[in-house]
Amino acid sequence: MEKILIVLIVDDEKDWVQMVSTRLKHEGYQVGVAFDAVQAVTQTISLKPDLVLLDIIMPAGSGVAVLEKLRENIKTFNIPVIVLTGISDKQTQEAAEKLGISGYFVKPVDMDKLIEKLKEVLIKQ
């Protein structure tokens, strides 16, 4: 039986989370959500998702900080992360890439491309 893959969506924009989760659910994934940096870490540890869609700017800490924590934690260090953010500056992208990410998307995102990338990453897993 094919394992249902879990994707954790981290974003403080709840409407956006709703749209993405609807889409991902339709694509057949199980979706977890987190609305801030703290939840992001705890949910990742508890849900053990197969992939994290991570926003950068949110309450209680930046996405880069979350990524750092995930990479430090033995339980989460190898979970693939795709950054999906409104921030398009190079420094942030480089900082995230240094910590190991599978993709960097800037909003507004072409949902098809995102799904494509998601599938690509998950297949590798």
Binding site: E13, W16, Q18, M19, G86, P108, M111
Partner: protein, 631 residues
């Protein structure tokens, strides 16, 4: 009886005559005494004769009248004669005696007088001589006397000591005894000249004595006797070395002072501010030369004028700031507070900055205890004011621009998120994930989707443009194939072209090597150009071609559309210049596409331009350098 009387009278006369003789004798004082004695002898004889005769007559008792009378007559007349003689004698002698006496006395007086005068004169001469000697001796100058042959007659102590001799020793000597021949010759010549001309000469000479420089002032004058004949030479000389040094020092100090004054004046004159020294009444005492510039080059007499009179000649406005500021400034100044004042001068059309400083007490004029003067500095700050104004405006503009930039950035970011949500929501519904939809619903959602896409593009363009303009656009330049990009663009745009029934032709030059550019950005430019071409072309074709030219890759996007009017060509690449607003809006343009494209191409050191004629389509060109030029 008569005889008796006559005899008596004769006797009386006789006695009287005797006294007269006596007195004459006394007068004669032994001189011519013999004469007297003779007279006296006569008298006695006469007397005796008379007496004998008388006696004879008396004895005889007879009167011989004739004889008696004769005798008495003789006697009497003899006595009278004697008396007259005696009287004459006496008178003569008395007169002579008196004259003699008078003469004698006056002679005596005269003699005495002469003697006294002579003595006085002598004494005076002695005194004068003494005084003269004393004077000469005590004169600090060197004094000498020479005769007409230039031989020394005398000199004072100073002169002698200078020659290292005693004053007495100089008598009979000449200059040749004391000075070198050359100098003595000169002195001799000088002396002769002065003696000949009879004039006085003064000369200043310089000597070297014991290695020191000595200045001597000499005055030589010709001595003359009462008949104006030259009898000698009087010389007076004194050391003026100290005076010379003092004069030199004075001259030096005057020069130093003069130089300092000039330096200071030119310093003050070269200060661009108008500097005025002003008294408590506001009257100018002095200004620097800048006043000429302020008065349009007219040299005016500034003294006693007020600033208002100086700078606004002919102006009768008593409320002028130059009049009104002074009492206030002076009031402050008397409390030791300097004042500054700035005003716009309507008459001079200048912004003027005025500084009022109290003058230091040390500069007060003689007899004044407190500062009664002020320094007023006027500066034309018009340029500064204008510059400040410009800076302020620029700063405002910059701030405004920054605010706009921030605003654009913020708004764009903030718009993106909800837009993404709306777009995704529409997509989900359109794709039927929220259940089936009918055609009408689909139509409406399509319109909504199209508009969200347009809004999304607008936001992206605005952000891009802002980034480019603020220099924040980052380029990822690496080796890329332009033909590949052209093909990709065709692939992406072909659907759009097909929808309008347009052909999208690509003609690439295969020889083009890989060149360095930011692929995403060039795709953006390409897409923008093709997108525009499709938008403005209703029928015909769009062709994309690439070719290699001298060191550049030339990309051409050509359409058969409406073209561009000549008047619009210039503003084509300007931001927010939509050529035909209404039509362009229908086409969903942002008005930024070409401006962004231009900036991207320029950032790649390429060129972008367009060729078109209204109604005959448009051709857009851009070039990219094959080898990136460095520097």
């Amino acid at each position: 009886m008569l005889n008796i009387i006559m005899a008596g009278a004769g006797i009386t006369i006789f006695i009287y005559s005797m006294t007269l003789f006596w007195r004459t004798y006394r007068l004669l004082e032994g001189k011519k005494i013999s004469l007297l004695w003779i007279a006296l002898a006569f008298l006695v004889i006469f007397f005796l004769l008379g007496y004998v005769a008388f006696e004879y007559l008396m004895i005889n008792g007879k009167e011989i009248l004739s004889f008696k009378a004769l005798v008495s007559q003789i006697f009497f007349w003899g006595a009278v004669f004697v008396l007259i003689c005696a009287k004459l004698f006496h008178s003569t002698f008395i007169a002579r005696k008196r004259v003699e006496e008078t003469l004698l006395i006056s002679n005596k007086h005269l003699q005495q007088e002469i003697t006294e005068r002579k003595r006085a004169e002598y004494e005076l001469a002695q005194l004068k001589e003494k005084q003269y000697r004393t004077l000469i001796e005590n004169l600090p100058q060197k004094v000498f006397l020479k005769d007409i042959n230039s031989i020394y007659i005398s000199c004072n102590e100073n002169y002698a000591s200078n020659l290292k001799i005693e004053p007495k020793e100089i008598v009979g000597k000449t200059d040749y005894d004391f000075y070198p021949k050359e100098l003595a010759d000169k002195y001799r010549a000088d002396d002769l000249r002065i003696i000949t001309s009879g004039k006085t000469e003064e000369v200043e000479e310089r000597y070297s004595q014991n290695g020191k420089e000595i200045f001597v002032h000499t005055l030589k004058t010709c001595l003359k006797d009462d008949e104006d004949r030259a009898v000698g030479l009087f010389g007076l000389s004194w050391d003026i070395t100290e005076r010379k040094h003092a004069e030199d020092a004075l001259e030096e100090s005057l020069m130093v002072i003069g130089r300092a004054k000039r330096e200071w004046e030119s310093t003050v004159d070269s200060i661009p501010q108008l500097i005025c020294l002003i008294d408590s009444q506001g009257c100018i005492l002095r200004t620097n030369r800048v006043v000429e510039q302020w008065n349009l080059g007219q040299v005016v007499n500034v003294k006693g004028k007020k600033l208002h009179e100086l700078l606004h000649p002919g102006c009768a406005d008593s409320a002028c700031y130059l009049e009104t500021f002074w009492p206030i400034a002076w009031e402050k100044l008397s409390n030791g507070i300097p004042t500054e004042y700035e005003a716009y001068d309507k008459i001079l059309n200048l912004h003027i900055h005025i500084q009022v400083q109290p003058i230091l007490p040390g500069i007060c004029r003689k007899g004044e205890e407190t500062a009664s003067y002020a320094v007023v500095v006027l500066l034309d700050v018009t340029e500064r004011r204008i510059a400040e104004e410009e800076r302020r405006r620029a700063s405002e503009l910059k701030t405004a621009s920054e605010i706009k930039s921030k605003f654009t950035s913020m708004v764009s970011h903030e718009l993106r998120s909800p837009l993404g949500v709306i777009k995704e929501g529409i997509n989900l519904v359109l794709e039927g994930l929220a259940g089936n939809i009918n055609d009408m619903q689909k139509d409406l959602l399509d319109t909504a989707k199209r508009n969200t896409d347009r809004l999304s593009r607008l936001i992206n363009d605005a952000l891009d443009f802002d980034k480019i303009k603020s220099g924040k656009m980052e380029f990822d330049i690496r080796g890329n194939d332009i033909n590949e990009v052209a093909l990709e663009v065709r692939k992406a745009m072909s659907l759009l072209a097909e929808e309008k029934g347009l052909d999208l032709v690509v003609d690439v030059d295969d020889s083009i090597p890989k060149i360095r550019f930011d692929k995403d950005k060039i795709v953006q430019v390409f897409t923008n150009l093709v997108d525009n071409a499709i938008k403005f072309t209703e029928k015909g074709s769009i062709s994309i071609s690439t070719k290699q030219e001298d060191n550049v890759v030339h990309v051409i996007v050509q359409d058969t559309g409406v073209g561009i009017e000549a008047k619009d060509m210039q503003k084509l690449f300007h931001a927010f210049e939509q050529l035909d607003n209404i039509r362009d809006k229908k086409k969903g343009g942002t008005g930024l596409g070409l401006a962004i494209s231009k900036e991207i191409i320029l950032a790649h050191k390429g060129k972008i331009w367009a060729e078109s004629e209204a109604g005959r389509g448009a051709t857009f060109h851009f070039t990219l350098p094959i080898k990136e030029r460095r520097g």
